[in-house]
Amino acid sequence: MHTVHADVIIVGAGGAGLRAAIAVAQSDPALRVALVSKVYPMRSHTVAAEGGAAGVIKSPDTLDAHFNDTVSGGDWLCDQDAVEHFVEQAPKSLRQLEHWGCPWNRDDAGGVQVRSFGGMKHQRTWFAADKSGFHILHTLFQTSQQFPSIQRFDEVFALDLLCADGAVGGITALHMQSGEPIVFLARAVIIATGGAGRVFPFTTNGAIKTGDGMAMAYRAGVPLKDIEFVQYHPTGLPGTGILITEGARGEGGLLVNKDGYRYLQDYNLGPPEPHPRPKAMELGPRDRLSQAFWHEQRKGRTIKSAFGDVVHLDIRHLGEKVIDERLPMVRELARAYVGVDPVHAPIPIRPVVHYSMGGIDTNINAATQIDGLYAAGECACVSINGANRLGSNSLTEILVFGEQAGLHAAQHARTHPATAETQWQPAIAASFAAVHALLERPKSSETLVGLRSELHELMEGAAGIYREQATLREASDKVAVLRQRYRTLAIDDHSMVFNTQLFQALELGAMLDVGEAMVHAALARRESRGAHQRLDFPERDDQHFLHHSLVHYGGEQPPSLSTKPVTITRSPPAARVYGGATT
């Protein structure tokens, strides 16, 4: 077994993790940063984000407007103090990235260009073609190479947090190439492991988005906040679930049903104008667009395809020149994966699971209730996204709160002494014993693929775009059984060297924990708000449910629930209005 002594451990090397690492390194080069990730940094799912990152730079836009769009977009479940901080820091964070070399799209004068995005009153989304997440991630990774105090541990699979007396001391992990156990000790730990889209069968998310870090914190006693809020992105490719960026609608793309009708106007998002107007029609918020699809499907107005029902995203009218300049990846993806050239034909799309609004409960400083433990990015819930995230807010979020987490973790590490390995021996032994048991277990009736499929079916059926009591209740029972059955899971591959079946089995454990939390939270929230829609409780209920849900790990038992107030500063809950009504 190998032990690494560090000052700050960062689990996850995507946008938030890298930004945090750089923040620590810049604030104090003497602090040793251990950047731990189960994949090489450039494989992190930040790389797949396409549309852009929001930050106010172009008049008549104002911080207030960004604030209001975000809070109303989140259906008033956002913590407004955090949103205030977020919108203020946003342009600074994006500018910093530009200073580090990010190739943002430019206007003719050489300034950064911004475009329209769903749910946003003004143009404020900075973009780098339609590969913004890719460019942000690579800029961050390449920049991070300059700092010798950042030591990377690539392809190291984090297992458990080491916590005692309300404070964190490190993590246990596996060296994926050799199977060797590694212990990382530090007084500050940042979790930046991303969301949990893979809990669902049909998602834009890459294979690695299995909620590992969320589950780590959850098992250590940090509640998952607002975990029932799962965003469906309205435009994913049928079959693969590959994301077609909202930027396509920002540039003027239209959504039509089988009759060529722009159906969104039937759902309080109209009236339709030839070019989508901010916060109306195709530029409405994602939850409303996904819900509209669901209704169209029920009415039989969607188009049948080999992969189920779809609608059409039409960008033909933009012309080849605009498409090649601003949406080249959209064209490439459509041609490769659905055999459609969007210059000549509309793209078949359908809603797919895309983003986890909920996650590890943190405050405005990215701190959890465990001393020294921080979280940032999609795995965390501050909350700035509330019940529904606006597109292009999350790429900015990872920068703003990645930096926050780094700065606060650095401060914490500086002012708290290191702990000795000896005090953690029992926890370390237990952590590795559990993995060993899974690895060595002889054949059982449970299979990895079987359990995973059952979880997927359960989640899609009960916790999809629309939910209701009976199916959620049934699902909560079923998932408890699945978790129990997981404890007897055996795998075929017993090797130590890069055993991907083992890693998938560990990921499944996290998926089951997070999935169960989602189901319980969804069951408890008897209202409809943002991305959480209940057929049996179709209205928003501020009187009883204007609060954050908290799910607490129950070990082998189902989780317990509690709530936490939402911080409301200057925007009292109001009707959430898009489309024709004045905003």
Binding site: E98, H138, P238, F307, V497, T500
Partner: protein
């Protein structure tokens, strides 16, 4: 309640049986790689990656390979398909015959099955200082100015997804262990050409060395296999020219390093 639509290999529904020969390597049980064949019922729209996932999920759980995004942007899934460096998520079964071979990316150390070492690229990126070395301090509270023309100059080079297909295509990578490689050099040039950057000379310490551009003999296969049309070969030749001119400039009368 919500329709689930997924590609599934239901027998008889237009599924074509493809024999896939995979070059396995399990260091705990063999000293050299060995071939293993699988009969895979493939759906028409599948990629090679989908076929691999089918093998892992239903035929042989021990097959190890990397993948994540399934949309050719994360760079994880590079491997040799019928001897060609390929991203398995973007190689379509409909374009391939009834028997195909899959092997780990060439020229790189094999850890297990289709999982290869990535350090050649990462060490190379570090060696060429692939980050912005600003020409001047940034304006306070503002971004650097960069026109669309200036952006266009280096933008193609920013598209590298670090997939290492170019390393598998380049014989020099195999022949010279110290060669930093095509992608690392392309990324060096990406910064050299960025109007905000002033580090070209500093990078020349590595790029103009024996492990840099001069190891390249313009075979050009790297650019042929690059899934993102980065053209590392072109970037390397441009750097050769720049490095030669720099060498001359330093030796000209009154020569200075600018």
């Amino acid at each position: 309640m919500n329709a689930v639509s997924q590609a599934s290999p239901s027998a008889g529904q237009g599924a074509r049986i493809v024999t896939i020969d995979v070059l396995r390597y399990r260091p705990e049980q063999e000293s050299t790689p060995s071939w293993q064949s699988y009969a895979v019922p493939c759906c028409e729209e599948w990629t090679v990656l989908d076929a691999l996932n089918h093998i892992k999920d239903h035929l042989d759980g021990s097959l190890s390979y990397r993948w994540s995004c399934h949309m050719a942007v994360c760079g994880s899934c590079g491997m040799m398909v019928n001897g060609n460096p390929t991203l398995s998520c973007k190689a379509f079964m409909r374009d391939l015959p009834d028997r195909i071979s899959i092997a780990p990316l060439a020229n790189l150390g094999v850890i297990r099955d289709l999982v290869v070492q990535q350090n050649r690229l990462l060490d190379g990126l570090l060696a060429v200082k692939s980050w912005l070395i600003p020409r001047e301090l940034p304006p306070r509270d503002d971004q650097y100015r960069q026109t669309p023309a200036q952006l266009a100059k280096y933008r193609p080079l920013t598209m590298c997804i670090n997939c290492m297909l170019c390393y598998a295509a380049c014989p020099q990578v195999a022949l010279n262990e110290g060669y930093v490689g095509p992608a690392a050099l392309a990324l060096a040039q990406r910064y050299n050409l960025d109007s905000r950057d002033g580090g070209a000379l500093e990078r020349m310490q590595t790029t103009a060395s024996d492990d840099g551009v001069w190891e390249c003999t313009f075979i050009g296969e790297c650019s042929e296999v690059c899934p993102k049309h980065v053209d590392p070969a072109g970037a390397i030749q441009q750097m050769k020219l720049a490095s030669s001119l720099q060498w001359l400039a330093q030796r000209a009368p009154g020569g200075s390093s600018s």
